[in-house]
Every structure is written in structure tokens, then in C-alpha cells.
């Protein structure tokens, strides 16, 4: 029996939730910044593609790459297999490029960046100053004393505003910059890897992204290097009627390690906005990448107006032996989510993991999941998906596990749990399983439960109000996934859970 005096408190996380619930405003990132913007004309054509390429100062090979994608895209159809219902998107009624006027001449360092832009990120709680971030920031009594550094790349509408800690990262040989800068400064890496995981022909949205992506982040970790700090990108959509198309490319060379965080917010608007990003991760021999997302785009109002339409293609290629990748996502925002972060387990003994919390409330719809493509021998994958639906929301888990003939002795474990709050919402599980060799094994478990009235009453009898009670129960339901997040993000995610479920009971 453990003695009680050995006990350590490691919480803070749940505190935060409760406090957040108490001071809740429905979408706290819903304000916009008045910044003079420069737009490309509305609509999409070869000229617009050329213009974007020119604005980014790209070499010809890049322009050609985009044009090829564009020509392909015009022949493609929007996919309709997902369990999503939304009005037709008029792709000609969008701006494909917007950037703050002040960014016309690229600032050389963060000191030169428009203070209004920096203030925007400050208001979002994202430090663009190079400073220590204490793990757990406020209210974390258990924060480690040594603090942690997180390097940030901030993308505002179409352009990267700036990247912190560049010098310190450079000392370790790590390249962390905007993708437009990488195209100019590291063309050999970009040419070798861009489109090698998600080819420009992959799917409708990825092809669109390949033609018009404006910016995003680029990461290269050299052989044997453990990245000395967390890397993160914060995406902010600000301009109206503007699609955001970021492109992220991460390359972990042999024996390297990196943990990467992605956060997203957008102002409240009553018209829907399009977001079609592509993330490509290349993991070489013995390397490991952790990619965490807290997606908190504006979900639309209670009646289903506005919100972000989020069509994202994320894929990691474990290209060589013993490569390892872990996707963790907390999806609370967006009106529409269409997203399947995937792992191609090509190298022998490579491993892929996917941990997901998808919360839908009001009229939100999410069709999300993962694909685990086992190509190499002895490959392992693990999927833990927690779907939470409230209000009139629909939440679909769609997952593919595929064991190819050569992927002998491979294993997959899938656990897929759905939690319903109220009786007007829905949860759906659509697993696709293909096993083409006899020595591999796939295990799938799925549960659906409701937030139980007895649990709610128990919490309320102990003093919590209904919203606190729901937040506590839901955070408990999603615990395995929250635990997979880096500590700072776990807190943010817990409070997001509470915020996004506001008004879901009673």
C-alpha cells in the first residue's frame, strides 16, 4: 500500500477547465484585427497562381509545379463520400491571397514586424517574443521550474509573420522557417521532398492547395539531432472571404526527433470560410516525429451560420526502418471538418499512432479519422479516437487500416469511442479494414455512450454546476488522448473542451 504522504498532485489541467467554464464567452478568439491588407483579385485562374508565386518570390520550377497542380485541379470533382452536408462552395468567390500591407517588404527580424500583428498574437496568448514559456503558464502549480522554450512560426492569413528562436535552432542545425523562405533558401530540400508524401494529384483539396498555397512552415531536423525545443505554428485567419491554404513540410532525417505543435483560430464571421491545408511529414530511419494539433477555428454560430470549412490532408511517411510518427489532434472548431491524418508505414518495424478528440456542438459536422497503411514488415499502429457530439452535431469516425501482402507480422489496434450529449446529435463509426497477409492482426473496439444522468447528478450533488459537470465527465472520457499531448497543450485542450460544449446541456 502506498503511503499517502508520497502523493503528488499533478493537476492544474482540470482547474483550468473549471475556471474557463466559469468565465466562458462562447468563442473567445472571435474578434478581428483591423489591418490594411493587400488582396489578389477574387477567383482562381492561372494568372492568380502565377501572381501568388511571384508575390512569394519563387523560382520558376515552383511556379511550374503550381501550374501543373492547377491544371489538374480544374479537371477534378469535389469528393462527396464524407458524411457531411454543406452548401456548394463557389471556388471563384474566394480570395486566394491576402497579406498585411506592412509585410510587403519582408521584415528581416521580428523587431520589424507591424506591432498590430504582434499584438494580435499576444491577444491570442502566443508569444512572438523569444522568451521562456513556463510549462502550464497560469494556475499550474506543478510546472517544472526550468521552463521550456517553444519556437513559434506565426502565419497570418496567407503569410508567415515571423519565426522565433531561429538562431538557437540554427546552432543545432535545425531549419525552422516559413515554406516560402525554404523555397528560396533551401530549394534542394524542398524539391526533393515537397509533394513526395502528398502528391499534387492526391485529392481535390490537396491539389487545390498545391496550386495556391501561400505559406506555411518548413522544418528540417538533421541526422541524429534531437530538436532542442518544441516547434509550433499558429495559424490565424483574419481577412474576410479569404481561403487559407497552408503547406507544412517536416523532414526528420535519420535518428532525429522533433515535437511539433499546431494551433489555429479565426474571427467570427457569418459567412463560411475555406481552409484547405496540406501537411507532409517525412520520417527517415530511426527518426521520430510527434505532431499535435489543437484546432479551434470558428465553428459557426448556434444556428449554423458561418464558421470554417476545414478540408485538410495530413500524411506522414515512415519511409525507412524503425521510423515513428504520432499524430495527436484535438478538433473543437470548424463548421465542417474533413481530415484524416495518415501514416504510411513503409519502413520495416516502423510505427504510427493516432490519438484524436473530435468535439462537435450545435450544427458542427466532423468526418475525421486516420489511415494506417502498413507496407513494411513488423509495422505497428495504434488508433485511439474519442468523438464527442452535442447539440445537433454529427460526428463520424472514418478509418482505414490496410495491411499489404508484404507487411507481414504487423499489428493494428483501434479503439473508437463516441460520447453523446443530448439526443439530437449523432455519432457514426466507419472502419475500413483490409488485411492481405496471414500473419498480421487487426483489432478494433468501438463503444458509444451517453453522458449519464446519474453521473451528472453525482457531480452536481457534490457542488458542480451542470456545465462544469459535463466538462469534467468529457475530459475524463477523452483522458487518454489529452495525456498524449505536450503539457502546455493539454491544458489549452482541456479548457477548449469545456468552451466548445457550452450550452450543450439543460
Amino acid at each position: 500500500m502506498n503511503d499517502i504522504t508520497d502523493l503528488e498532485v499533478r493537476e492544474g489541467v482540470d482547474r483550468e477547465t473549471v475556471e474557463t467554464v466559469a468565465n466562458m464567452g462562447s468563442y473567445k478568439y472571435g474578434w478581428d484585427t483591423e489591418i490594411e491588407m493587400e488582396y489578389a483579385p477574387k477567383g482562381l485562374s492561372e494568372d492568380i497562381v502565377r501572381l501568388i508565386s511571384e508575390k512569394n518570390g519563387e523560382p520558376e520550377w515552383m511556379t511550374d509545379w503550381r501550374l501543373k497542380a492547377y491544371r489538374r485541379w480544374v479537371t477534378m470533382q469535389e469528393p462527396s463520400w464524407a458524411m457531411l452536408n454543406y452548401p456548394e462552395i463557389d471556388f471563384q468567390d474566394q480570395y486566394y491571397y491576402a497579406r498585411p500591407k506592412s509585410m510587403e517588404a519582408k521584415p528581416k527580424s521580428l523587431d520589424e514586424v507591424d506591432p498590430k500583428l504582434l499584438a494580435t498574437y499576444e491577444k491570442l496568448g502566443i508569444p512572438l517574443k523569444e522568451q521562456m514559456i513556463l510549462a502550464g503558464v497560469e494556475g499550474a502549480d506543478a510546472a517544472p521550474a526550468d521552463g521550456r522554450k517553444v519556437a513559434v512560426d506565426a502565419v497570418f492569413d496567407s503569410v508567415s509573420v515571423g519565426t522565433t528562436f531561429k538562431d538557437e535552432l540554427a546552432k543545432a542545425g535545425v531549419i525552422f522557417c516559413s515554406i516560402s523562405e525554404a523555397i528560396r533558401e533551401h530549394p534542394e530540400l524542398v524539391q526533393k521532398y515537397l509533394g513526395s508524401v502528398v502528391p499534387p494529384t492526391d485529392n481535390f483539396y490537396a491539389t487545390l492547395n498545391s496550386a495556391v498555397f501561400s505559406d506555411g512552415s518548413f522544418v528540417y531536423i538533421p541526422p541524429g539531432v534531437t530538436c532542442p525545443m518544441e516547434l509550433s505554428t499558429y495559424f490565424r485567419i483574419n481577412a474576410e472571404n479569404t481561403g487559407q491554404f497552408e503547406r507544412t513540410l517536416i523532414i526528420a532525417d535519420k535518428g532525429s526527433y522533433v515535437s511539433y505543435l499546431e494551433g489555429c483560430t479565426a474571427p467570427k464571421r457569418d459567412t463560411a470560410q475555406l481552409h484547405a491545408a496540406v501537411v507532409e511529414i517525412v520520417v527517415l530511419e530511426d527518426a521520430e516525429v510527434k505532431y499535435s494539433t489543437v484546432q479551434n477555428w470558428f465553428p459557426g454560430d448556434e444556428d449554423g451560420n458561418g464558421g470554417i470549412y476545414n478540408f485538410v490532408t495530413k500524411r506522414a511517411d515512415c519511409r525507412e526502418a524503425r521510423a515513428k510518427v504520432m499524430w495527436t489532434q484535438v478538433e473543437t472548431g470548424s463548421a465542417i471538418t474533413w481530415k484524416y491524418p495518415s501514416c504510411v508505414l513503409r519502413g520495416d518495424d516502423s510505427q504510427g499512432e493516432f490519438y484524436s478528440i473530435a468535439i462537435t456542438n450545435n450544427h458542427q459536422q466532423a468526418d475525421t479519422g486516420t489511415k494506417m497503411i502498413h507496407l513494411g514488415k513488423n509495422t505497428r499502429s495504434r488508433i485511439v479516437s474519442k468523438g464527442i457530439s452535442a447539440g445537433k452535431a454529427q460526428n463520424t469516425y472514418r478509418g482505414l487500416v490496410s495491411m499489404h501482402p508484404k507487411a507481414t507480422n504487423s499489428r493494428n489496434y483501434t479503439q473508437c469511442d463516441s460520447l453523446l450529449i443530448g439526443d439530437k446529435c449523432g455519432a457514426h463509426t466507419v472502419p475500413y479494414i483490409e488485411v492481405k497477409n496471414a500473419s498480421s492482426r487487426v483489432e478494433h473496439e468501438a463503444t458509444t455512450s451517453k453522458v449519464d444522468d446519474d453521473q451528472l447528478f453525482y457531480c452536481r450533488q457534490r457542488g458542480m454546476d451542470e456545465e462544469e459537470a459535463v466538462a469534467v465527465i468529457v475530459n475524463g472520457f477523452a483522458k487518454e488522448v489529452l495525456q498524449a499531448l505536450p503539457m502546455e497543450f493539454a491544458m489549452e485542450a482541456q479548457s477548449l473542451v469545456a468552451i466548445s460544449l457550452e450550452g450543450s446541456v439543460g
Binding site: R460, Q461, R462, G463, E468, V472
Partner: protein, 251 residues
């Protein structure tokens, strides 16, 4: 402290009357016991007092310190000092026992306009209370009641009571399913909390618990009503002769 007068309650979705005029009064500083046959409405009384959904009060009143309990939300009743140790404590997967309890305590404190406890202060408090109830660190870390044995669940209810320090404690068959030692711990826990400004309403089937927690008053409930009220000797009578004689006597 607690005054229940002619309380009538029926099921919300069914035309079934369960409480048919419960009246009793528990003054501050006293311990009262309720005994009565299965299905007589003991648990229902505790649920109606604490505000669980599914029941409709059709007549009568219930007040705590003169305040109308029936008008309040369950969490308001809790903050006002009403605590129910459940007959069947609920499991909450994934939520650490300590996190749960700290969230609850601070929610109550906040509602009452009191300062919330920091992690350190809370840790000190729970260590102290846990020790007395022989609740080890492992049990505090585990998710609320998940995988707890019957006896552990009941001890956990008493731990929550000890930490929340309510004014009016209702214990619904907290003694059922406890071994002799656990029964002692629970009884000691209750006795340690006895105070001039606190009262207990202990629902039980057995004299055993009442040997340890000496009640001031014993009520017998049958078919939705208190049919007899007396001293501790009433419990002994039930233990020896069962309810049949008692009930025929009042009928």
C-alpha cells in the same frame, strides 16, 4: 436544521406516488436514523431532498436553515451544506478522484464566495482526511469509483463528506456491504465530524452501524411515510422482531 413537512412526491413520467407525506425534523447537532422495509421510499426521500431529476413534488415542503430546498438547483443545495452519501456511488471513468473532489470543493467555495483552495492546500487537506479513513494514495489517484470494491466506494463517499464538510449529511445505506473494520472506519469518520452545527440523517437496515454511531432519534418509514419515531431502542426492536409487529401496531 432540516425540516421536512408532509412531503409528497411522485415519479415524473409515471403516475406513481412514492412519498406520501414524509414529515421529520433534524435539529443541529443531532444524529437521526431512518429504517424501514425495502422499497418504502428512504432513498427517494434523499433524492428528492438533493434535487435529482425524475421526481415531482406534489405537496409539502423541505427547508434547510429555513431556506426552501426544493426551489434550488442540486449544486445550490450542495453549497448550502446538503450532502448525500449515495447508496450506489457512480463511476466516472478517466476523472481522477482527487481532481473530482477538488473541482467539487472549489465549486462550492466559489458559490459561497469563499477563497478557492490551491493545489498545495488541497493536498494537505486530503492527505489528512484520507489517512483517517485509511484511503491510500493509489485510491486517490484512480478514477472516481472505477474498479473500487463496494466497501471502497462507501469509504470514498465518507472521504468526500469529510473534505466537503457539509452541514447536513444524509447517508444512504453507507454501512451495506462493509466488512467489520471498514464499518468501524466509516463510523469513526462520521463521529469525527459530529459537531454542534452539523446534523446527520442515517439510512440503514442494521443495528450494527448504530452501535457505533449512537443516534439521538430513530424514524421508521413505511410506504412513503414516517410511521413511528422513537429513541435508539426502536432500532433494537426492529433488529429483534422485524417490521411486521411494528407496522401492524401502527396500522
Amino acid at each position: 436544521m432540516l425540516k421536512i413537512n408532509n412531503l409528497h412526491a411522485k415519479l415524473e413520467d409515471e403516475d406513481k406516488q412514492i412519498l406520501k407525506g414524509v414529515s421529520l425534523e433534524v435539529p443541529a447537532g443531532e444524529v437521526h436514523a431512518i429504517m424501514g422495509p425495502n422499497g418504502s421510499g428512504k432513498s427517494t426521500t434523499s433524492y428528492v431532498l438533493s434535487g435529482r431529476d425524475g421526481y415531482e413534488v406534489t405537496d409539502g415542503s423541505a427547508t434547510l436553515y429555513g431556506e426552501d430546498l426544493l426551489e434550488m438547483e442540486p449544486e445550490e443545495r450542495a453549497a448550502a451544506g446538503l450532502f448525500l452519501a449515495f447508496q450506489y456511488p457512480v463511476e466516472i471513468p478517466g476523472v481522477g478522484n482527487m481532481t473530482f473532489l477538488r473541482t467539487a470543493l472549489n465549486a462550492q467555495r466559489k458559490r459561497r464566495g469563499e477563497e478557492e483552495l490551491s493545489a498545495a492546500e488541497f493536498l494537505k487537506l486530503i492527505r489528512e482526511k484520507g489517512k483517517a479513513l485509511n484511503i491510500d494514495a493509489d485510491m486517490l489517484k484512480r478514477p472516481v469509483n472505477v474498479g473500487f470494491s463496494g466497501g471502497e466506494k462507501k469509504r470514498n463517499e465518507i472521504l468526500q463528506m469529510a473534505v466537503l464538510e457539509p452541514k447536513m449529511c444524509i447517508l444512504d445505506e453507507t454501512d451495506s456491504g462493509l466488512d467489520v473494520d471498514a464499518m468501524r472506519l466509516v463510523a469513526d469518520g462520521v463521529n469525527a465530524l459530529r459537531a454542534p452545527d452539523r446534523a446527520f440523517l442515517v439510512i440503514t437496515h442494521y443495528q450494527r452501524l448504530l452501535d457505533h454511531i449512537r443516534p439521538d432519534v430513530v424514524h421508521i418509514m413505511s410506504d412513503g411515510k414516517i410511521v413511528k419515531t422513537g429513541g435508539p431502542e426502536l432500532a433494537l426492536e426492529v433488529e429483534q422482531n422485524g417490521y411486521a409487529d411494528l407496522l401492524s401496531e401502527v396500522a
